[in-house]
Amino acid sequence: MTGILQTENVHLYYGENEALHGFDLNFNKNEITALIGPSGCGKSTFLRCLNRMNDLRTNVTITGSFKFNGKDIYSPSIDLTELRKTIGMVFQQPNPFPFSVYDNVAYGLKLAGMKNKHKIDKIVEESLKEAAVWDEVKDSLNKSALSFSGGQQQRICIARVLAVKPKIILMDEPTSALDPISSSKIEDTLVRLKKDFTIIMVTHNMQQASRISDKTAFLLNGDLIEYDSTQKMFVNPSNKKTSDYLNGEFG
């Protein structure tokens, strides 16, 4: 397993308030890593550091080192738009643009200046197939993406991210707003995507973490409590807090 993203000594402050207390997390290529922990423990905040979405908030200070393939992603010389294309993100609520399915998936390509209609068509189709939603939308690519169900919308959003060919996909509770059947479809999709992408996923659903992730990190109040292979974490956690949390003692 080769590392793709290394973080070291990550501190994050909202104004005076320290939300992440300094920890290291390394992510391996072609693996699914789950970040678990109770609400407010800093999982989503940490995830948003990785594609610099926290830059959009005022009053946030981030220190520590974040290295993607050895390059510092907070270096002033980095191209922010390029970084966000390389490290894509899927949000908690399905958030397709109020455009057609086709325009949604083609959005990132057109941003990149791709003009070749034939090529765009091809990538749109591939991406929707990879996100396992092609069969449901192929006859209505020109219909508004909002006219589909929540689960379909979320897979359209995944296709939209896949279309720009990222290396890493960050997912912030991608199934928490969805019903169990849609969730399991998305889980299947993620497991298949693993061979081409690296996935880092925040989830509140312990079963989901144990089903699909290779590694699990347990965060609590801004600290990393334990980080290990999912199997080890769920069967034989080394920290008492981890086993308490996994057994539903708190959180």
């Binding site: 958030n95 643009f97 990132g108 990149a112 909002l146």
Partner: protein, 305 residues
């Protein structure tokens, strides 16, 4: 018996509920009555030109000579409203075309770019602009814009151009504040999604935020046009009030509204001159109805769920 009576009696809350309901129904009924009376009055008066004075509706809408007191060559009174209708649409469309780019630019600045302080400051300015009475705008137009146009283009300075410029300032705050509303109503998660796909802020603004806000912006423009179309006093003060077919933008002309304000004091109720003005009012009423319908249609089609 006591218990039965107690149980069947309506409670205090129920009576309050009934009282509140009857008050709101009464008010609604009153408003409906008022509106229908106004409509009836304008329509019946407006139609009397055609029923009592035997003016052809088609002639009224297409002929170009407006002189209700004299009889034309064909033996019929000269009430051709076409110049006013054209001028009304002219100043409305021109001022909207002029104001829209400014409104969108200010709107984008206010809703996306400006820091909180700048936003508040602009908000106050816009609200102030809305609150200024139209006679003040007219007066400013008369003392600044008319002489300016006279200086620049010759002639009297009165005309469609002056009216357009005054209306531009008057509809700008309307269009801007509604544009800001519609830009603000674009959910933040859409711009987040766009930025996370590697879009720059500018790309996000014009590819996502503006595009999602288009129905709202169109509504804003139509509202602005409705205001321009219905504005009477300020226009009357700067347009010159000549009921002639407009040949260019810098000779005196007259809109439906300016003709109404100019003429209504000089005619006697029941005469053709007066009836013809009511017909102009009817045209105005129908047009504002059309504007309203357009707004409704856009709102229905384009709403973001």
């Amino acid at each position: 018996m006591e218990i039965k009576k107690k149980l069947l009696m309506s409670s205090k809350e129920t009576r309050q509920d009934k009282f509140g309901k009857s008050i709101s129904y009464l008010s609604i009924g009153f408003i409906i009555l008022l509106v229908s009376l106004i409509l009836y009055f304008i329509i019946s008066k407006g139609l009397s030109t055609f029923t009592q004075n035997n003016v052809n509706v088609w002639d009224f809408l297409t002929k170009q000579d407006w002189s209700p007191s004299s009889i034309g060559k064909d033996g019929k009174p000269e009430v051709g409203a076409l110049p006013m209708i054209i001028t009304s649409f002219g100043v409305t469309i021109l001022s909207a075309i002029l104001a829209t780019p400014f409104a969108i630019a200010i709107g984008i600045y206010m809703s996306v770019i400006a820091p909180k302080k700048g936003r508040k400051f602009l908000q106050i300015i816009i609200e102030m602009l809305v609150g200024i009475p139209s006679v003040v705008y007219g007066f400013l137009g008369l003392t600044i814009i008319v002489p300016m146009n006279r200086h620049l283009f010759g002639g009297t300075g009165f005309g469609i151009l002056s009216a357009t410029l005054v209306l531009f300032v008057m509809v700008l705050p309307t269009i801007t504040s509604l544009t800001v509303d519609s830009l603000n109503s674009v959910p933040k998660y859409l711009s987040d999604a766009s930025l996370a796909l590697g879009a720059t802020r500018w790309q996000t603004i014009y590819k996502v935020i503006l595009r999602a806000a288009i129905p709202g912006i169109l509504t804003a423009i139509i509202f602005g046009m409705a205001r321009a179309f219905g504005e009477a006093l300020a226009v009357q003060m700067v347009i010159g009030n000549a009921t002639l077919m407009p040949k260019n933008l810098i000779t005196p002309a007259s809109t439906l509204t300016s003709q109404l304000t100019t003429g209504i004091g000089n005619t006697v109720m029941g005469t053709l001159g007066n009836n013809a003005l009511w017909s102009l009012a009817l045209v105005l009423l129908l047009m504002s109805l059309v504007f309203n319908i357009i707004v409704k249609i856009i709102g229905k089609r384009g709403s973001i769920k």
